[in-house]
Symmetry: C2
Subunit: 322 residues, 2 copies
């Protein structure tokens, strides 16, 4: 995991060194603020690892990595507005600290910064990176829209939910790796397997997210435990619970969700999750995606010791507590 930590450190430093203009302060201060809230820099590290996997120094993929990280932060700023989220990484969100307009606009300019880092590549790599990046950005928007659509739908099937999280979260992890492989000019089949590894890890990652929201240690979590329950968010756990519940249990679950007192609501919904064993389902589904991911990684035609860091990263993602 030494290589991973090295890349995370490089990204962190480069993020802090980003030469954003001073003025207009209301446009760029929010970005300086938000980009320094931290985060594990997982996605950009994946890009560098996806490059070094094919014996090309990871640092060559650094600008693509930064594009991925800046894009990710852009989506967070806009998502926080749409979700009316007050906190991000335990700190005020941009629209909360400034206002919604500043959140929209500073997000927009961050998206420009992301694309701008791609234009540092030349030759055939540039159009290839652009195609991956735009395709992925479009999918992430689609995923966010589906997520919002689900809020007003009575019934959402588990497959629809998986498709939504695939778009909203997972394709970016796949694309981060794919962009690294593209900088390294890896073969088509290996690049595809690396992408599929990332997407499946991403799906596992998102199920872990759903699990953490309910079962995380509040001290480590950095945001409110049970937030999804309070917001009536259709997570894997909730959808599975409704799918499995008897008519009577469904009524109890609906009544629990209608409780006005937040703590009581969380406790009551968690009680139903326990009665219906949905935590176990989510854990099993997460493991299934993890194993699919590893299969794709194994299929890549490079010596297995070169894959160790990626396996380590996958394990790191699976075991995260915040």
């Amino acid at each position: 995991m030494k290589e991973l930590q090295e890349y995370q450190k490089i990204v962190e430093n480069k993020i802090h060194e980003l030469d954003l203009p001073k003025e207009p302060a209301n446009l760029y201060d929010p970005l300086r603020y938000f980009l320094k809230l931290g985060g594990k820099r997982t996605r950009p590290s994946l890009t560098m690892l996806g490059c070094s996997l094919f014996n090309v120094p990871g640092i060559k993929a650094f600008n693509a990595a930064l594009a991925v990280e800046l894009f990710h932060n852009f989506t967070l700023i806009h998502d926080d507005i749409m979700d009316e989220a007050p906190l991000r990484r335990g700190q005020q969100t941009v629209h909360q600290k400034w206002d919604t307009n500043i959140g929209i606009l500073s997000g927009d300019v961050l998206f420009v910064e992301a694309y701008d880092h791609l234009s540092k590549y030349e030759g055939q790599v540039l159009p290839q990176l652009l195609r991956i990046f735009s395709r992925t950005a479009r999918q992430v928007c689609e995923g966010q829209q589906l997520d919002m659509d689900f809020e007003t739908q009575d019934v959402v099937s588990i497959p629809s939910y998986i498709e939504m999280i695939r778009l909203k979260t997972s394709v970016l992890l796949g694309a981060a790796l794919e962009m690294g492989a593209t900088v390294a000019q890896a073969g088509e089949k290996d690049t595809q397997n690396l992408y599929d590894f990332g997407v499946n890890i991403g799906l596992a990652f998102q199920l872990q997210d759903d699990l953490l929201d309910v079962y995380a240690d509040p001290e480590k979590f950095g945001k409110q435990v049970g937030g999804d329950i309070l917001a009536n968010k259709k997570t894997y756990l909730l959808l599975k619970a409704f799918e499995r519940a008897s008519e009577e249990q469904r009524t109890i679950l609906s009544d629990s969700m209608a409780l006005a007192n937040g703590d009581e609501k969380i406790t009551a919904v968690k009680r139903m999750f326990a009665a219906l064993n949905v935590r176990e389902d989510a854990e099993r589904e997460k493991k299934r995606f993890y194993e699919t991911a590893i299969k794709h990684l194994e299929a890549i035609d490079v010596p297995s010791q070169q894959k160790e860091t990626l396996i380590g990263l996958a394990d790191f993602i699976m075991a995260r507590d915040h």
Copy 2:
């Protein structure tokens, strides 16, 4: 102007043929709706004209032109949210017809579409186009931020105002032409002069916008005449009026702006504009930018008959009534 009309028609057709996905409908329907509201397609036509000026068929710049037009529409969707505008081209804005979240997100995905059209270029043209496009997109965001900042500032100088409209409006017209010249691989000096032509036409264009808001024919205008006055928007006219007013006139102007009845407010503010002759100033300033633009166009090293369409377009922009 035959060439211009031809390009406008090509852009209009291509916009209608854009193959946007069907689903999620809440993401792409707003784009289909908004892109068909029309508009004069001035900016993309400039891109094609900027290419054909250097004896390269304008159609070669078509994808760059579409990128410019899609970017412009993206900024309109987000600006309409920020400005809380109910109408655009006489029709409901996206956030009004759907909601703010859909406005944010469909704007974001339109921005992706814009960049995506650039990636159809190859070789050295692609990174050059990307650099122009990203630089310009960043400036347009800066201009919008300055515009919002001005709302809460007591005093805004005329030079600050000109800088704001240069960023918010004019650089995109310059960049539209520059991108056309880049596709044609024109010389550096010619490309710069073409850019400066566009920026100065853009400044004239924006002053015309300020003038139209107050003095347009309501039937042709397509949005509310006097809207800037009602919103206390710091336009060239208002800033000039405050700059020139005596202490007594300043009080009258402030009192006029404080009137609760909209029609009375518009009438009273217009009366002060007339007393202070600010319409004449705006017209003179507009003419000055127009003449600077023409000087830059004249300096470009191509036969003058090839410049006729651009001169025609400049005149068209100057004379527009909506």
